[in-house]
């Protein structure tokens, strides 16, 4: 039962983080101005909230940290799929709309976000 809930939680938070990763990679195309300006801040907050909620799902700190990492990886993979959509749909042209710098930034953020989500897991365990 607990395992099923953790997997559900990882999928749900992965979808949530995918939105934030996509907005962070394409800040000028984000629908809300506040997300355009503070995309990275929202991503950091999203990682803390992810850890916190996963920490509330499981009393084990270790499982919570692994679940947080899995959510971040899932979010990043889904965002990568979104960014590759033009190429997958065959509408990629001469111009590269996403810079390689944005992709590198997203990967570095994913590495930084794991310990941040671990802090959220710790807080979630205390609640």
């Amino acid at each position: 039962m607990e395992r099923r809930e953790i997997v559900t939680g990882v999928i749900l938070m992965g979808i949530f983080l995918c939105g934030l990763f996509t907005c962070q990679a394409l800040p000028l195309l984000a629908p809300l101005k506040v997300v355009q300006e503070y995309g990275t801040v929202f991503l950091f907050l999203g990682a803390v909230v992810t850890g916190l909620l996963l920490g509330m799902l499981t009393p084990s700190m270790e499982k919570g940290v692994y679940a947080g990492f899995a959510s971040i990886v899932l979010g990043l993979a889904l965002a990568g799929l979104i960014l590759a959509l033009p190429a997958l749909l065959g509408i990629a042209g001469q111009l590269g709309v996403v810079s390689t710098l944005a992709l590198e930034r997203a990967l570095i953020l994913a590495v930084i976000l794991t310990p941040i989500s671990a802090v959220g897991v710790f807080i979630g365990n205390l609640i």
């Binding site: 979808i15 195309l29 909620l53 799902l57 979104i82 959509l85 042209g93 111009l95 709309v97 979630g124």
Partner: protein, 168 residues
């Protein structure tokens, strides 16, 4: 028993919040991806190509003219802020030149085609390379395209074209 009930309640609350956040994530992704696909379609309808190259000689000074075609088949008004052309002969770098139009960008209204000529003056140190070289030249033309909501994007076109030599 009481602790177990509290734990189940806490997990249910966490799952409900997670579900709500996932819905927000889907909405955010949907809106951004929609704009992204729109911008990608516009970007795909922009084309740049090298049409030809002419080399003229005046008093042992060479001037290379590169004919470039810029086509904006999209429904957005675009502009080119800068370009750079690099000329190679027999795989060897000859010369390059930057064209900066930041103050007065080259406008490309929707559905328009613009033919431009980029001039490269070959320095004295390279005149021998041009004079003795073959007739198949490689050209690399790159530029920065200013797109609404996306900022400046790099475009590159390469071509191997036969040279037309002339005397001014």
């Amino acid at each position: 028993m009481k602790g177990n009930v509290r734990h189940v309640q806490r997990r249910s609350i966490a799952l409900v919040i997670m579900g709500a956040l996932a819905v927000c994530g889907i909405a955010l992704t949907w809106a951004t991806a929609g704009d992204y696909l729109g911008a990608s379609t516009v970007a795909a309808k922009f084309q740049s190509s090298v049409q030809g190259i002419t080399c003229s000689e005046t008093n042992s000074e060479y001037k290379i003219r590169i004919d470039v075609n810029l086509t904006n088949g999209s429904e957005w008004d675009l502009s080119v802020t800068s370009m750079r052309s690099i000329v190679y002969l027999d795989g060897q770098y000859v010369w390059g030149h930057n064209y900066d139009w930041t103050g007065n960008p080259l406008e490309l209204p929707r559905g328009s085609t613009n033919d431009i000529v980029l001039e490269v003056e070959v320095p004295h140190t390279k005149t021998d390379v041009v004079a003795t070289g073959g007739n198949v030249w490689s050209i690399r033309v790159s530029g920065l395209l200013d797109m609404p909501r996306l900022g400046t994007k790099l475009f590159v076109s390469k071509a191997q074209v036969p040279l037309e030599r002339g005397n001014d």
